[in-house]
Amino acid sequence: MIAALRCLIFRDLLLAARRNSDVLTVVLFFVIVVSLFPLGIGPDPKLLRTVAPGVLWVAALLASMLALSRMFAADHADGTLEQMMLGATPLGLVVAAKVFAHWLVSGLPLVLISPVLALQFDLPRELFGVLVLSLALGTPVLSLIGAIGAALTLGLRGAGALLSLLVLPLYVPVLVIGAGAADAAASGLGGNAQLLLLGAMLIFAGAFAPWAAAAALRISVE
């Protein structure tokens, strides 16, 4: 079973590597959205320093949502998904593996590039660790919750806009706590509480979201 899951993760990563423009689009989207904010709200460094965590978080959230519709769509279109559902590996685990692979190609790059963008916003150096850690803990939660939405909207017309309507309200706690981590660290309180909460959300979502997404896939494919 472990071998099957490893195989699945490698397959998804390989597919992503062959179609690397998909990955690059998400990262570029993230970079561009973040760069638009100073143009929109003005280049005042003091202002930018305060809004930086929030801007990076909102942009990361939108970018990871942009990639969501691809999570199951290709497998659904060519029938691979049905085979996975018929297979011996429990569907919940298959979903968990796919979500993990999806996060590796659409969430992790955002986490890695975020310090560079934080530099543009002149974020104090000591906040970098908290910001990156909060994104590293938070973006997998986004992928996990998003998997439920992606599974529910599979094969529907206008799935992209519908997906954002379903998923964005559910993202709110992650955004609030995630962006709050760096803010709390900036105010001298330390971001530990928020990081622990994000970790709790990750465990909670990791345990339940693949199961819910598997149920949603069964509804969508039947």
């Binding site: 529910l152 017309r157 519908l162 309507l165 309200p169 559910l170 819910a212 149920a215 949603a216 509804i219």
Partner: protein, 246 residues
Amino acid sequence: MNINWFKYSSPQTFFPLAGKLALWFGALALLACAVGLYLGFFVAPSDAQQGESYRIIFIHVPAAWMSMFLYVVMAFWAGLGLAFNTRLSGMMASAIAPTGALFTFIALWTGSLWGKPTWGTWWVWDARLTSELILLFLYFGFMALQAAIDDPRRADKAGALLALVGIVNVPIIYFSVKWWNTLHQGASVSLTKSPSMAATMLTAMLIMTFGFWFYCIAAVLLRARCIMLERERSSDWAGQYARAAV
């Protein structure tokens, strides 16, 4: 004694019952709202600090309660539909959603009307306002998902799953925005401590709550009747009803 719990779980038997219940609850709602509004607007004393503007709470607070309560009821029917695979449960859930969204909107709207004279602003990013707004988005998401799916059985199940995911999230959303920012006054009415408002105000508010509650039951049942007719239009009983109505 042997009770048939599923007697009214089929649209055919529930349809006439829903019609009768809707009529009674509609009449009760009208009565309760008339009495509640009279008590609230003419009998209850004006507030020491807020003057007359506080009177919006007779609509605002019951609407806010109903908006949250209806989401729970919707998730309950949705869960029941998933568990027992009953057609009617899904129809009830989709019938509740628009009424729930309506009351969420009324709560937000009246809240901002009250906020302007009291707080001096139409909107603040406070925990309860924000979570109420997100509740509205959750209702919209539920309705949009059901509207996008053509097959009613799939729409029911997908909506049910979304409602259940939402109900798990509602407390998390509430507490996260609460920690994020809090300006809203604490709750004035609670079950554990004695209320901090005049007895007539409380009476009027409770009567209004019952009025809204009965209205919700009546509106949901009427909407459920429409959904039943629409989905069961090829069945005998729906055809007979339609012919009798013409």
